[in-house]
């Protein structure tokens, strides 16, 4: 074996000591190491280093931190109440002061310019555990029929997996003066809520895109429906999402 071939083997020797090689390949490496002193030295050095690193004690979480988190997370919570208004209402309450302002706004001023605040607040509320999805499915043919009978309109549901926006589910949202079908999509760790409702007779004056409290939104209309996409995804990718949908 030439030194070049040996240097290619280095990563294999490393993978071997890391326990990543299937038996057959590990046997090949062992055979080579037996015949090649420089690779044998390398293997020995790597093993020794690994052993010495493991003598260092990696830190563990301080008891106070564990206790604080355990207390915060509480006892295993009871199962959620049946989906619908009650769960939604409880979720709104539990958000506390941070959202109280938007909820008030929500109740008193449900008109056009407030629409971005309303949908962003609905998105934030939905991010609370167990409020995100009423129907969990990556299949548009499961999500779409789920809305039938729950809404006076039938929202379009699209599969955008090919564009790397995965459909993950749907739910109902009760917004002021409006029931919305909400579709949930995901890109990486980012969730996108797409709110859909029939376009009202008086057109919306809200801006077509922007951001509120760090969440970006896009609005458009198509086929008699109004769409609002809200996410913490950056506005470029959210625009991609909106374009893919249109």
């Amino acid at each position: 074996m030439t030194p070049e071939q040996c240097s290619e083997l280095a990563l294999l020797i490393q993978a071997d000591i890391d326990g990543e090689l299937p038996a057959a390949e590990a046997a090949n490496v062992a055979k080579h190491v037996e015949a090649c002193p420089s690779c044998a030295t390398l293997q020995q050095d790597l093993l020794e280093l690994s052993g010495r690193i493991r003598e260092i004690r990696s830190p563990t979480a301080p008891p106070a931190l564990k206790a604080a988190i355990a207390e915060r997370l509480g006892a295993p919570a009871p199962r959620r109440p049946a989906a619908g208004r009650r769960a939604w209402f409880a979720g709104g309450l539990s958000l506390g002061v941070a959202l109280a302002a938007s909820l008030l706004v929500f109740a008193w001023l449900p008109k056009a310019d407030m629409a971005p605040d309303v949908v962003v607040a609905a998105h934030i509320r939905a991010l609370q555990p167990s409020h995100l999805m009423d129907v969990v499915s990556t299949d548009q043919h499961t999500v779409k029929p789920w809305f039938a009978g729950r809404l006076p309109f039938s929202p379009p549901v699209k599969d955008l997996t090919a564009q790397d926006f995965k459909l993950v589910g749907g739910r109902l949202d009760y917004l002021p003066g409006q029931t919305a079908a909400t579709l949930i999509y995901q890109r990486r760790q980012h969730l996108i809520d797409l709110f859909v409702w029939p376009t009202p007779p008086t057109p919306d004056k809200a801006p077509a895109n922007g951001s509120r409290e760090g969440y970006n939104f896009f609005r458009w209309q198509a086929g008699g429906m109004t769409f609002w996409a809200v996410s913490d995804l950056n506005s470029q990718e959210l625009a991609q999402f909106a374009n893919a949908w249109r």
């Binding site: 993978a15 050095d45 790597l46 690994s50 004690r57 990696s58 988190i69 997370l73 509480g74 969990v136």
Partner: protein
């Protein structure tokens, strides 16, 4: 400890019996260790874990099951990177040595079989190696720590760090070569 919202936890979906608490609690040591190795500061590490738990809460509804530890570690890792970026923006002061990870190191009982002098040398070597790890570039350090202390597979490390497996392998390789060089340098200084 202050939490921005009065959030309650409950199962993510009707099909999932496991609560967020069940997923998180067993991995707090791993989460803290990773945060500590990455941010190199005990207080910031605690903040990172707390923030990561909060972030985890909001992502949990979309958690589809699978490797829970890798899922949590990925959030911790990303949160640690955000914290590092925020700290760099606020001071940008280079650090030459780091607080020891092991608060009890000085009190550690030496192996009674060793002669005291040899035990001291070993302890000093261990401290030097620890400093050498802490001095590694963060992207090399995270791979090394996840491999050596958490004993995760290349695939899991790739998931957590968001890079291909080949990159994990070459980063591990560079991390180890760097440490070997440092230890050799240290030895020649002492001689």
């Amino acid at each position: 400890m202050k939490w921005p919202f009065g959030v309650r936890t409950s199962p993510a979906t009707e099909t999932s019996e496991r609560s967020f608490r069940d997923v998180v609690m067993p991995h707090l040591d791993s989460a803290y260790a990773l945060a500590r190795w990455l941010v190199r500061d005990p207080h910031l590490a605690e903040d990172v874990v707390q923030d990561a738990i909060l972030r985890g809460l909001s992502y949990f509804a979309s958690f589809r099951g699978g490797d829970e530890r890798a899922w949590l570690m990925r959030i911790v890792r990303n949160t640690a990177y955000s914290a590092l970026a925020a700290r760099a923006r606020s001071k940008g002061r280079p650090v030459s040595s780091y607080e020891s990870l092991d608060d009890a190191a000085a009190l550690e009982v030496v192996d009674p079989g060793d002669d005291p002098e040899l035990a001291l040398i070993r302890q000093a070597e261990r401290a030097a190696l620890e400093q050498a790890i802490l001095a590694l570039p963060v992207e090399l350090r995270e791979c090394l720590v996840l491999k050596e202390f958490e004993e995760l597979s290349y695939k899991e490390i790739a998931t957590i760090t968001g890079v291909p497996i080949g990159t994990v392998m070459s980063r591990l390789w560079r991390a180890r070569r760097t440490l070997q060089d440092r230890m050799l340098e240290g030895a020649s200084h002492d001689a």
